[in-house]
Subunit: 198 residues, 4 copies
Amino acid sequence: MINLKQSQRSAQRKDKLIDTALELFSSKGYTGTTVKDIAKKSGVTDGLIYHYFTSKEEILHAVLAKHNFLEEVRHILQFHDELPINQTLFKLGERLLELMVSKTSFVVMVFGEAQRNKMMAKRLEELISEGVIALGGYFEGRAEQGEIKDLNYQLLARHFISSLFIYFMTYGRNCNKKEHNVYLKTVIQALCDGIIKK
Amino acid sequence: MINLKQSQRSAQRKDKLIDTALELFSSKGYTGTTVKDIAKKSGVTDGLIYHYFTSKEEILHAVLAKHNFLEEVRHILQFHDELPINQTLFKLGERLLELMVSKTSFVVMVFGEAQRNKMMAKRLEELISEGVIALGGYFEGRAEQGEIKDLNYQLLARHFISSLFIYFMTYGRNCNKKEHNVYLKTVIQALCDGIIKK
Amino acid sequence: MINLKQSQRSAQRKDKLIDTALELFSSKGYTGTTVKDIAKKSGVTDGLIYHYFTSKEEILHAVLAKHNFLEEVRHILQFHDELPINQTLFKLGERLLELMVSKTSFVVMVFGEAQRNKMMAKRLEELISEGVIALGGYFEGRAEQGEIKDLNYQLLARHFISSLFIYFMTYGRNCNKKEHNVYLKTVIQALCDGIIKK
Amino acid sequence: MINLKQSQRSAQRKDKLIDTALELFSSKGYTGTTVKDIAKKSGVTDGLIYHYFTSKEEILHAVLAKHNFLEEVRHILQFHDELPINQTLFKLGERLLELMVSKTSFVVMVFGEAQRNKMMAKRLEELISEGVIALGGYFEGRAEQGEIKDLNYQLLARHFISSLFIYFMTYGRNCNKKEHNVYLKTVIQALCDGIIKK
DNA sequence: TATGAATGAGCGTTCATTCAT
DNA sequence: AATGAATGAACGCTCATTCAT
């Protein structure tokens, strides 16, 4: 029994450490965060950290493993063909923004550290690619139905996703849902109908 | 008069130091780069750095001052109204990509450091805003001529610029001009005419 | 409970560090003493110093806290009125000299550092003032009893205390008790009866 | 001619450097003063310092040589026997205080540096001893005339001089002449007549 | 499990001094 | 005589990591 309780507490503690690490990495960056920082904020002694992780780098790995929202991205990207394209895009944008908002600190960390850390860069590219491929596939499907013009769908998808991403990072991080919607509507309307008056 | 040669060599050396710093900052980040690194790679002793700069931070400032391409961005953004919108956008995109390619390491550094360093964040926002405002103004002008639809031009501009930016950062960094053009054409065609078949 | 031994050894080590620091500060001055010096002389690595103290300045504070003899001075200065004035002064002088002798290196350090370091200057002034005020009060009391002449008792007290102090600093530091007594007798006799033959 | 002018300017410059050094040493201490500081404040380049002095230490020597007021102390200490003792002591005290006031920064430096620097300590002891011996001799002379009691005149002299000195250092440094006189009168009256009411 | 003492390489920075010009 | 570029050892301090308990 004791062992069970112990191992539970142990797991909880590890979890706490990972969450604290994410928080700190997000606000101060990986390099800017001290192992001592993590220990202190988690209410744990310095040495104990190395009972749970072999190195600072491994903490980062654990953070990435726990907060990897690739699954959630994939789930969002299961497109249903019943809706008109613009509504589908709007829903997608809405959900992606929601997801990014709910994981702001994680996104910020991955983004900020990606220049320095190969693994982080790979992770970032994975996330974006996942979206790009799925959305590109959706475009292609619509094209086969004769609904959209003949274009490079992958590039188009990348354009949409990455614009959303940078909007969130540099501008929309602190905006509310209403403002997000204005952005999404503007961008999607332009994307669908073009900006040129006929 | 006496020390013309010396002061020349001194200026050259300072220049060298700035360039070396840019290189290192770009590849390892500001925090990840040691003053000793800069000294060593420049073939200079540690102490001499502080003959030219008062601190590591000042080196960063010097790097930013030397490679500040705000001026160039402004120049690129002087729109001429003779051309059709899509051609104007294409020219703009082409030049912005050219500029980013020619200053890749600088752009990467500013981008990567912006999450951590207030000054860098400001610098980045300046760069993007500059483009957003100018392009937004251009859209507005075209709208007044009845050429484009009623939309939020600032958001539209931000969409175009930031998409370009992230395309470069995550994808186009190593592409050639031809590939850039494909991207630009796709994105601009979609932006102008929409993707929906009528 | 577990680490009683460890925490004991830790406390001892901290104590050792403080004592070593006092020794070094006294002989080489605060500025002239390196943190590495303290570490080396204590048989400890550089980094460990910062496990016990947050800065070199804090080591100084710890030294001051441990060797703060203000309390002892106060105790000495509790005058008893039973004795004749000259005997009271003699006892006071004797004890103050004893105290300074037993804390020679501390006194020397405070004195030497006071010109440069505001905190040390304040500390020194505190020590002297404490004595001056107490002794001045004693003089005043005796004056009210009609035992001493009408004079500025604070200045008189300062005169006595500071003379004692500089005697110790520049001359009596290495003298024995007998020599101290000669000094005290001479000075006190002169102070009480004057040097002029009537 | 040119050489004469040059050597004049050279001498002036050296003088300027010494004075600046004194100023800086006094306010920031010897260790706290940078050779660069001296150069800058003197309007001279770093390297030139070493054309005039072989080291920082030598600058200190030069400062001491130039501002050595032993001569002046000796002059002040030429006692004349016409006056009553208390007036003689008052005149002596007055002049010594005047001298210390006029050379405040020098006195402060010597005093502050004496704990760290053997040479400075020796210099300080020289100055004090000079006064002690002269004043002790004067006392002895008066004693032979039957004017003062039988006491240890050297200790008495040390008492008077050092009290004066510490009064200046810790208290009278910023007082005006009037306040000095109050101090001197009090101390001298007590010294001459004693403080005990008969 | 858990502690926190201990390590030691490395950080940004300072500064007396040297030296080519 | 004068410059200021250049040196390099040393400074106070940080921190990921190890380890005895």
